[in-house]
Subunit: 378 residues, 2 copies
């Protein structure tokens, strides 16, 4: 199963919006074939492993198949893997956790059992969730898995008072940041960052077979036509401004404009469209509905704080540089609290050195426990 | 030599103001005796190792002696170790680096050589400096080695806007903080922290054979007679206020009042005594002159910032708790800069998990290189 996980992990940039899955076929404790899910529309891990088996002139009969996810039982973009498995007739199938896709959700297990195949579920389930948090989130919560990528000094400053932030961290940390972009389905920022840094938001410092989408939260549709993020023509602009002229202009540039005004309170509803805020949770639901599993946010303290306050954030990916900046911009502008008990609680899941910087991953504990519970884990 | 280092490391809380030293005697690559420096006035590591040797009825003849520091050649509180070594007549002595004490500084080496003993210098010298940065600093720079201990949230907040900071970190991080207090010669804070938290500043959560001194930077002599730090009667108050009444009152409580007014600029000189600032560098020189090797600072953002700006700080010991606090107090109030190139540069030397928190050590690179150069290292 560890090898199946490793195969899934290696496919991190590849199959979105499908989950990353690895499959290993073993006989007498020896690996005889393996595969990982291909690009969307391509073969799933099980099919790849069965093909690998065939190419070696071997049969699955009497073998054990290890998969990092329940095999699919439905016709999606490809025929159900469970049918191919039953045809191959291994004696046993082991998978990490049930497919949270409501079209599968246990049906793969039932079909295998009905075919007389021995099935074990729940091996390395937590590790498997680590590999596909976005897919599980989209399928079970209807929103993507969201992380904030932040580069900060030891004293938690992400930019100088004059806005300068390039570069706080070194080349290894920046390349690692692109790894996180590459695994995501969309790289999202706010209009403030577009104005200050004019980022392209594409993946450059690591090799990837696909580029994630790029998105800008721009309540007033203030983005300039020459903004770097609009180059390439597939950007998504989330706005509260329904100004048809502005929308037409952006659409003509190939951008997708999505209207998600915040109508949550009367005072907001009364505002002119150009001054409304974006309903961040509605934006997340739109993203999930549009096959976005994982959202990589690279924004300023204002947008970071708004996303946290709106309950949209699962994880912080913090790159800390060994410097003190004193005054400047913070990580996230969130409302002040009066008691430490009221602080937003995370859990450090990983600390890694990257050149002279360190990367600290911190996960929202309650949200992660919720995802685990959806898979009947922990 | 590794074992000699380990012995010195184990004596971390013990011999101040003497350096922590370990000594191992080996024959044919086998350890036959060992020792570490005792409390001030007690035996040094070499003497302890020779006694250990004797207690086993063994002789040093033909053996190799490994010491984490050059053996002393002068009459301090104890007779010179180098004489005892020469008398024991090992065939070889290996030590990590020269004793930076100007009364020794190579004389130990010369005496051993003159006695026909083979000597090797410079083995694990950097590691040895890590064990005695304060002793080396005091001897070579005339100031102590100073670290700031800070407990902060992921977003670099050390207290809520209302001043609440107990407890941001968990019990393991707090116990580790007491380890750092225990190894220091003085635990120093500012009058602001005394007012807000009224800390005792003593070592409680780890077992130590000696308590460090306690110090308060209190420019105006505003400390209340019932401040917890004054209990025990050995606190040092650094002040700019020469008010004889206040000084007498504190002295009567057993506190030592040290006048170090900042006279560096005319506007400061013109201030009334009660409003002057403390000359932090003069305070550091006073501390070194009074046998303080290592200073543990546990203060608020104002004092931390002032110490950094005054060029007094060698290291940050940051405990990061997995929470976001939003608005609140920062790590260190230092002047804003306009270019990232002007930021104070550190180096991460260690990241350790402590329960749900992490400890991040960051060292001022230039100051460390300076200490190394004093030992003719790197």
């Amino acid at each position: 199963m560890r090898q199946a996980m490793a195969l899934a992990q290696r496919a991190l940039y590849v199959p979105a919006p499908n989950p990353r899955v690895g499959c290993v076929i073993a006989r007498d404790g020896k690996l005889i074939a393996q595969g990982a899910t291909q690009h969307v529309g391509g073969a799933h891990a099980e099919i790849m492993a069965l093909r690998d088996l065939e190419s070696h002139g071997l049969s699955a009969e009497g073998a054990t198949v290890y998969i990092s996810l329940e095999p699919c039982s439905h016709y999606g973009r490809t025929p159900p893997c469970v049918d191919a498995l039953i045809k191959a007739a291994p004696s046993r199938v082991v998978f990490a956790h049930f497919d949270p896709n409501p079209s599968v959700a246990g049906r793969g297990l039932q079909a295998l059992k009905a075919a007389g195949i021995d099935v074990t579920v729940g091996v390395c389930a937590d590790e498997a969730l680590e590999i596909n948090p976005g897919f599980v989130s989209r399928m079970t919560r209807g929103v993507p898995y969201v992380w904030l990528k932040v580069a900060a000094s030891i004293d938690g400053r992400t930019a100088l008072p004059n806005g300068v932030s390039q570069w706080i961290t070194g080349p290894q940390a920046r390349a690692d940041g692109h790894h996180w972009r590459a695994r995501s389905c969309i790289v999202l920022t706010g209009i403030g960052t577009v104005r200050t840094d004019n980022p392209r938001l594409d993946v450059r410092h690591v090799t990837t077979p696909r580029q994630p989408r790029r998105g800008v939260i721009d309540p007033g549709l203030d983005i300039r036509a020459d903004a770097a993020v609009l180059a390439g023509g597939d950007a998504v602009i989330f706005t509260a401004n329904n100004d048809p002229e502005k929308i037409d202009r952006l659409s003509a540039q190939g951008a997708r404009v999505v209207l998600v005004p915040d109508e949550s309170n009367p005072s907001s509803a009364a505002l002119p469209a150009a001054r409304k805020r974006v309903d961040l949770m509605a934006m997340m639901r739109w993203l999930a509905a549009n096959d976005i599993n994982e959202v990589h946010v690279e924004a300023g303290e204002g947008m970071n704080g708004a996303l946290i306050a709106a309950g949209c954030v699962d994880e912080l990916v913090l790159y800390m540089a060994p410097m003190l900046l004193g005054d400047g911009k913070g990580l996230a502008r969130i409302p002040a609290i009066a008691r430490l008990e009221d602080a937003a609680r995370f859990e450090f899941t990983d600390v890694t050195r990257l050149g002279s910087d360190i990367r600290i991953r911190a996960r929202d504990m309650a949200r992660w426990a919720d995802l685990q519970s959806k898979l009947h884990l922990g």
